[in-house]
Each structure stands twice: as structure tokens, then as C-alpha cells.
Symmetry: D2
Subunit: 155 residues, 4 copies
């Protein structure tokens, strides 16, 4: 796929450097190309649910944000992406040392971008396919929703 | 709906006291009945994405875990629930002081429980409907997936 | 909710009178208000799958088209709705004499409308809740995608 | 993937020969292997919605049934599959002569099978990617839900 904004890597960097929740969850970008990316989380105790597995919300956040990254690599300079909706299937309970996610755009629309994300859990020398998501992102212009007095933008 | 386990509140408490990611995200249970619950997150900077809105992953985690809580209130004593899949729509970008989520079971199956969650964002005296999820949970027996040497259970 | 187009019932009628697949499946509109509707299918052998239950595709078509109807009641005069995506949960296998669906808009956005549909199966004097869907519809202007030589519009 | 039932092609044939709605919609199986399949619909006027595009319900039925076919190729001799839920994204409005769908199993669980389906529309010498679905199927034993007096099985 082809990037419309030659500085797309800057917009993508903003999704990692300026998103507090992404810092809190420890999500790192490890690879980026127009329309696709790879991300990583080194698993710690704080990522787990009550039975010792990675919380579904961690994998969902990773799948969503990685899809948003892949989408953000394709938008214009004055635009941003907001998740309109996503669906995620958990294929088996995840336990291990690291999560890896590959996201890619299926449809680079001008108003809606559809992407999919696959999450793998690495541990004990094995790599398990633990989750897959489909994500719909709305492309909105940066002016919308800027000031505190304005209504929040809709996806 | 009717709880099968008279001590269901203990199983539910475990979902909050023993889930590190839930503590990290600040999700609190504020109301519980068989088949439904209400939860709360007091919003801080760490919950935000790059444009100052609540991260989709925070709302997704809240919707998923609240649906899991509503489902866990209906299972038998030797069982636990794992999220098989969920889908969430974001209705508008969330900004405010507090998230509230109401989850309720639509179908209390013996193997699959289907629940839905509605997320509201409170701030500036207003209450906005910001996200809605449908969640499918698998009911599995507690024996499965216990030890580290066992294969991870599938939802 | 409030209709923007005073002649919204005409646009909605078009969804039933000019959609061959809706005639083929026997889907009828029985109630309409701005932002919501009720529809009906009288079940026949042709609606079934291999085990004698209503085919998932019949309930999915009904849930999708009814959500589209509820959305179409809210759009402007020069606009139409296209399904961007939907998700449907089947709560139990459906068998009976009639399907009824109630759809309502959750979020009447100017570019995206989110609606939900609940499907019930009536038979033997009982009414069972058999499926629930969440549907995202894109609002597009009627000019797009009109002629055969044009590219098909994206949701 | 490996079939557990050496006669899996017989069970799959039943999904086409004994499902009236599949005959009505004109869905044909053109390729089958354990865990995957390809299907086809020759498009006619009856498949369309009000604007001349293929109805979302046609593509949804095709995606669901093809995923069910891929799943049915992996189950045991006394089992059947029921769709528990699915989600489908429509990537662009479909117009053409033929729909083709490729489905494949992502996770062949003993109780839940997760599959995905990709739908393409062929026409005017081109092949367009028009829809993608993720489908969760419940594996149930054939005894359940057999007689008319029994309760309908849950997915």
C-alpha cells in the first residue's frame, strides 16, 4: 500500500509517545510499513487476570492500537483515526513471556479503514496464536474535537 | 436470573482482588446481582490515548471484564469463565471524570454465556453513552489449565 | 429520535419494495418510527438449514435489514445507508412459525449510524429470544455509486 | 489440518443437499479440504438490495455457511456445528456476476471452532475483495435437539 503522507512515521510515533495508556501497558512498535506494523508487549504480572492468563483487555488493547497504527500510516497529514468498532476472538488462553501482534489494513478507505490484527504469545520456546481481531477505524480531520468546549467527535 | 452457586459473590470478588490488570486499570465493582453488575473507573491521565480521549482499550477492558463478572455470577462452584470473543462499538470519543459500565447476561447457557455491556462517560455534569459491547464467554471447569505444565485452556 | 427527512417513510418503503432479496426472503415491515422498526418473516421450509433450524443467514439478513431500516428513517433526503459491518450472536437454535425483529438506533451519527436488532422466534405459543446483532451503517450520498461505470461505493 | 471423521465429506454434503435456504440462495461448494473450503454463488437479480448491490445478507449467509463447512470437515462422526456468532465487514458494495468465498479454520477446538471467510465479487474481468467475516461455531452432539418435543439446542 501507498502512504499519502510522506511523514506518516511521525504521525505513527505520536500514537506511541503521546498515548499514556500505551506507555502504561508497555506496548512498543517494532516494525512499520505503509498499511502494516508489528508491536510487542513484554509480559509482566500486571498484565494478568485472576487465573494467571493474560487479560483479554491487554490483547484487545494491543490488537486495537496496532490496527490503528497500520491505519494511521495511510491517512493524510491533517487527519487522525478513531476506532469505530472492533471484534476479537480469543483462540486459547495466553501465558508466556511476550505478546507479538501483526496488523495489516484490508481496506484503505478514505472515510473508513478496515484492518485486522493477529496476536501471538511467545513463551517456553513456543509461539501460540492466541487472538485475532477485525477493526474498523474512522478517518476524521484533526480540527474536529480539538478544544475542550467542543463536543467529542464521533467515530 | 438465578445463581447456581450460593457463594457467587466470592467467585466474583476473586475477579477483582486477584486480577492484576484490573487493579492496574482501576476498575471497581459497585453493584452486583445474579446476571448483572455495575462497574466504575475514575479517569486519570494514564487512561488516555494520543488525542486526549479515553483509550478504546480501557473501555474494551471494562466492557469485557464487566460482562465476565455478570457471567461469573451464574456459573457453578467448580467453574470459571473465559472470554471467547467480544465486539465493541464506540459511539463517541470519551472524555470526562468517570466511566460507568452496566453489564447483563442475555443468555445464561451451560457452556456459553452471552452478555452485553454499556459504557457511559460522566463529566461536566453530563452522562454520555460512549460504547456498547456484546461478549461471548466460555464456561470451563476449574481443573483445566491449572498447572504451568498443562496446555492453556481454550475458550 | 427525530427524522431529518419528513418523507422518511418513502425512503424506507423503497428498502422493501425495491430490494429483490427482501422479497425472496419474505421480510415484511410491520412497524416504523424515527430510529426504530419492527419486521416479520413467516417461516417456511425454504428458511431452514440442514438440521431443521432457521438458517443463521436468515436471522442475519433480518437483523441487518431491520437495522438498516431504523437507520434509513433518520437520514437526509439525498442520502442512503450501506452496512459497513455487523456482528450477531445466536442465543439458541430457532424453530417455529414466525420470526419477529425489533431494531433501534443507538447512535444517530451524521456519517456512521449504530443500531441493534433483537430477533425472536414465535411458535407453539412461546416467544424465544434467538439472536441479537449490532450493526454499523455508513451514510453516503445518493450520487455515489449510481452508474454502472462508476466504482462501487465503500461503506 | 486433520479430519477426525474419515467420512467428513458426507457430513459436508449434507450441509448443501439438506439445507433448503442454501438451495434457495444458490450456494454451491466448489472445493473442500479438512479445515477449508471454497464456495460460489452465481449472482441474479434476486440477490440484490434496493440500490442494485448484492444484499449484505447474501454475503453474510455465504460467509457463515462456508465457515460452517470448513468447521464441519473437522468434527467427529456424531457431532454437528451450530453458528454461535459471527462478525462481517463489508469492504465495498458488491456488483458483478459471481461471488466466491474462501473459508478456513483458525482454531479447531473440541467445543468451539473459530473460522474466517473472505468473499470476492467477480465481474467485468475484475475480482474485488468485498467482505470478510470471523465466525465462531459450537460443536454439539447430534442427539441434542433432535425431536420436536425437545428444547432447541444452544450454540
Amino acid at each position: 500500500m501507498k502512504a499519502r503522507n510522506p511523514h506518516f512515521a511521525d504521525e505513527v510515533r505520536r500514537l506511541y509517545d503521546s498515548a499514556p495508556f500505551i506507555g502504561a501497558i508497555g506496548l512498543c512498535l517494532v516494525d512499520l510499513a505503509p498499511g502494516s506494523c508489528e508491536t510487542l508487549i513484554r509480559l509482566e504480572r500486571r498484565h494478568l487476570q485472576q487465573d494467571g492468563f493474560v487479560h483479554a483487555g491487554v490483547q484487545a488493547t494491543m490488537a486495537d492500537h496496532s490496527a490503528g497504527t497500520a491505519a494511521a500510516s495511510l491517512i493524510g497529514a491533517g487527519e487522525l483515526v478513531l476506532t469505530a468498532e472492533f471484534k476479537i476472538n480469543f483462540l486459547e488462553a495466553a501465558q508466556g513471556e511476550e505478546l507479538r501482534c501483526r496488523a495489516r489494513v484490508l481496506k484503505p478507505g478514505s472515510r473508513l479503514i478496515v484492518a485486522e490484527s493477529e496476536v501471538f504469545c511467545l513463551g517456553g520456546g513456543a509461539r501460540r496464536f492466541t487472538a485475532k481481531a477485525m477493526v474498523t477505524l474512522a478517518v476524521v480531520s484533526k480540527g474536529r474535537g480539538g478544544g475542550g468546549a467542543q463536543a467529542a467527535p464521533s467515530p
